[in-house]
Symmetry: C2
Subunit: 159 residues, 2 copies
């Protein structure tokens, strides 16, 4: 990732607080060791006519890519773990509204690297559950219990 | 307005580029000398559950006010000229996407203070027309010609 000035880091933080989204998806995928892929994302959204604003962000950071959706919305997506770690490390101190999500995503990314067992993976799911609660305070989601059932059925929880 | 650090100014600029709106309304109003009120605004929008982000902006700047709409959207509105001048002076250098709107609004506010005749007011309308073109590139609006007709009919264009 590019080196950023304080003003650039704070600008990106403001944009992210105003318009962006920080989230972690858990996608079912049999080719993964624990049957689920942990997919963290930072995404910015703009109407097509404001595409320049996202191009500018992408040029500032040097990471991620733009995607033109069919509905007139453009997304600027950062989904690889190395870029996310670098960007969050720079931007988190300047965030306000989404600071807790940023801190928790950093924790999830670091924990994920060290996960060595099904039990570790369940702990990771607990963190992702916390994350969902930050983003959708009214929805009740319990990822951990669903993952537990899958890992248990496939004998991935016994040491 | 509060004194702001570089990081705070850049943060607000990022938020404004991502989520805010800079615009000038021309409202018909017979109590005004030139029959129209020039009303400049900076507005930030968030869903109700993100209200904290707007409260934070308002606390940072110390100007403007929050308004809860009926449709679940909260607005943070800055509409008085003194606050707008102060805020734009601080934030404009850090804007990217909405920099031209900010520069033009500063010009409009300053020009408005010096307007002394119907002809001056029409020049102000030309600037507002430019502004509308920046915000809605596809819509054709010609405020100046409408105002010209009103001022002419009321004898406000003769020196």
């Amino acid at each position: 990732m590019n080196k950023l000035s304080v003003a650039q880091r704070a600008y990106i933080a403001g944009f992210l607080d105003g318009d962006g989204s920080i989230y972690v998806q858990l996608k079912k995928n049999k080719t993964y060791r624990y049957r689920y892929q942990v997919a963290p994302y930072i995404v910015f959204f703009q109407a097509k006519k404001e595409r320049l604003g996202l191009e500018n962000l992408q040029r500032l950071t040097g990471v991620g890519y733009l995607r033109d959706r069919n509905d007139g919305i453009v997304e600027y997506i950062i989904g690889d773990v190395t870029s996310l770690l670098a960007l969050l490390t720079e931007v988190t101190p300047y965030l306000y509204l989404k600071k807790r999500q940023a801190v928790l995503m950093l924790e999830i990314i670091k924990f994920k690297k060290g996960a060595r067992s099904g039990a570790d993976f369940l702990k990771l799911c607990l963190l992702i559950d916390q994350f969902q609660q930050l983003n959708y305070s009214k929805r009740r989601i319990n990822i951990t219990s669903a993952v537990h059932d899958v890992l248990h059925a496939e004998g991935l929880l016994t040491p």
